[in-house]
């Protein structure tokens, strides 16, 4: 009888198998469920806030959905807005792997854009196939140096990276204003000081069949590459160790300094690329609208995604949609343009408060499913 399993034993086997699966899924499920609950809680709180001013939250969320994904046009608007957000969020998420809170991505975006616009007149006759990558590389180099030096200051001088990066964002914006209104100014730009317009060959076009520029594809690729780097390579693994415990990493002989400078520089390179794409695909020149707050929304997205590059993609799309719908909400409900800022601030606070929930629920504990507790 030993070779024939009784129906009861087969049931046990199946149940054990299910328990095994549940135990394995418990932790990843926690990483998805808690941010989701927090996100919904943030939306509810914001609804209450709006209701305080006599506005109908349901109407607002209805308009938000309509403005973000209601028509093919609005979907494309949302996607185009998400493109720089993907790259801006990486500038927060990559240094975060090493335990660094870098929030000055706006500075690298701005300087990347100015760098691209400054290079453009010098390579005016070059075909786009060469010229666009040249601008991208230059913008990425500028962004990498800018944010990489934040990492270097942190590692070699002990300067707090959060404050340093934000101070450097102010400096970057001042530099941009100086360059755009001074040495790089197009004399023909009267009302809105700008650099010389890019040659047609140097502009980034749209994805065939859509009005969304290629920046979206670049942004998603950058997220995938970043994920592979931190999750599938030894460099990423070393960074994780160094982010967890610097002393242990140093004892293991890991090049902590190079990792910190490398990850901050890569984040900065992506932010610089975001600025270049804004210039080459959207504005056609560099001007003050480069400092449009993408860097700050990127911080929120990175925290919502818990610094996971793949999770950045959906959150960047959602935030891109929310920001794209802002105009419609303003017009229809007579709300100020800062409405979306209040929503983003609330979401940010709620997602941070939700950090305290991890490990509180037993159903997310693998031991609970294995019957060990």
């Amino acid at each position: 009888m030993a070779d024939v399993a009784s129906p009861g034993a087969a049931g046990d086997l199946a149940r054990n198998g299910l328990r095994e699966v549940a135990a394995r899924l418990a932790r990843p499920a926690e990483m998805v469920v808690i941010p989701l609950i927090a996100f919904v809680a943030g939306l509810v709180l914001f609804g209450l806030f709006i209701a305080l001013f006599g506005k109908n939250p349901l109407q607002l969320y209805g308009l938000m959905v309509q403005g973000a994904v209601g028509t093919w046009f609005s979907i494309q608007q949302s996607l185009a807005r998400a493109a720089p957000l993907l790259l801006a969020a990486l500038c927060v998420a990559l240094p975060a792997r090493l335990g660094l809170v870098v929030i000055g991505g706006e500075g690298a975006i701005v300087l990347g854009g100015v760098a691209a616009a400054a290079l453009a007149p010098l390579i005016g006759g070059v075909p786009g196939v060469i010229g666009v990558p040249l601008m991208a590389v230059f913008a990425m180099a500028v962004g990498a140096v800018w944010i990489g030096s934040v990492g270097a200051l942190r590692y070699y001088r002990g300067v707090n990276e959060t404050i340093a990066s934000l101070l450097m964002a102010y400096i970057a914006i001042a530099l941009m204003n100086h360059l755009v209104e001074g040495p790089l100014r197009d004399p023909l730009s009267l009302n809105k000081p700008s650099t010389l317009p890019l040659a047609e060959a140097l502009r980034i076009g749209t994805i065939p069949g859509m009005s969304v520029h290629w920046g979206l594809v670049v942004g998603i690729l950058a997220c995938v590459i970043s994920f592979i780097l931190i999750d599938r390579t030894t460099i990423g693994f070393s960074a994780k160790i160094a982010g967890g415990n610097v002393r242990a990493a140093l004892l293991q002989g890991l090049p902590v300094g190079r990792l910190i400078v490398g990850f901050t520089a890569l984040g900065g390179a992506f932010a610089g690329l975001a600025g270049m794409i804004e210039v080459a695909a959207v504005h056609g020149n560099a001007n003050a609208s480069l400092a449009g707050g993408y860097g700050y929304t990127g911080i929120l997205i990175a925290f919502l995604a818990r610094h996971n590059p793949l999770a950045i993609i959906p959150f960047a799309l959602i935030l891109g949609g929310i920001e794209a719908s802002n105009g419609l909400i303003q017009r229809r409900m007579a709300l100020p343009d800062a409405t979306v800022l209040v929503l983003e601030g609330l979401l940010f606070i709620v997602i941070l408060v939700s950090d305290t929930l991890y490990g509180r629920f037993r159903i997310f504990d693998p031991a609970y499913w294995k019957g060990e507790r």
């Binding site: 590692y155 001088r157 959060t162 101070l167 001042a174 409405t339 305290t356």
Partner: protein, 308 residues
Amino acid sequence: METVDIGWWGVPLAILAGAIRVSTPFLFVSLGECITEKSGRINLGLEGTLVFGAMSGYAVAYLTGSAWVGVLAAAGAGVLFGAFHGWICSLPKVNDIAVGIALMLFGMGLAFFLGKPYIQPVAPDLPDISFGFWSSIPQVQAALKVNVLFIIGAALAVFLWWAFQNTRVGLVIRIVGDSADGAAAMGYKVNTVRLLSTAAGGALAGVAGAYLSLYYPGSWNEGISSGQGLMAVALVIFARWNPLACFGAALLFGGAGALGPALQSVGVTQGYYLFYAAPYVLTLVIMILTLSKTRGMAGAPAELSITK
């Protein structure tokens, strides 16, 4: 007022005047941040509190007709923001730096949202005292017009310096900031002390905001702050958590902030934006020079996350 041509002497004079005028918000935020950090926590959200204080102070001053009621309202709003930060940070596993960033964005968003109707109206100004009566040169007289809040802030710096050394409250804050375990063992409620310290810090940041909107530059708009709340965090590190040094550092930052307008007043307009960046560059350079990887942070509260 008739101006006398004093040529390039106008530059140091304008920097002096500017140092007094521009330093006041730095002074209040940095004293506030100093109290918070002494208790072992860092509040990066003071920039948001400052902007919200500027809005609420201006709105209340306009509605009540009294600038001082506006200052009180700004302080009250600051208490709420600080207490909120303190409460969130007392939850386990929550990172105080990240909460600060979130509250900074939230405070600014809320201020812009609620402040829209107050961009146009004119609210009453805070009073100032003229110390330049001995001079016949109008620029000197203008330079030595000192706002009452500056004087209050200077007195507060001295008081806090004394209080941290000599009062029971000051000692408790320092104990909590140096060893949470030690303080808990002595029977002090660490989270409560930190919450109250953060609330007090928020109140001072609110006052700093009210100074911006009610005196200099003296109006409410969305670009009212130029990062004073953030620079204050660096300024406190530079001042080694000493309220008296905060006063000196605030004057230095104020002077740097006044450099651009001072040069512009004598006709130097080239590179205006670069001079505008002077306080940020100064902050960064000071942080690079005064910090080091190997040297310990003398005077730093041991519980502070940024010094660990």
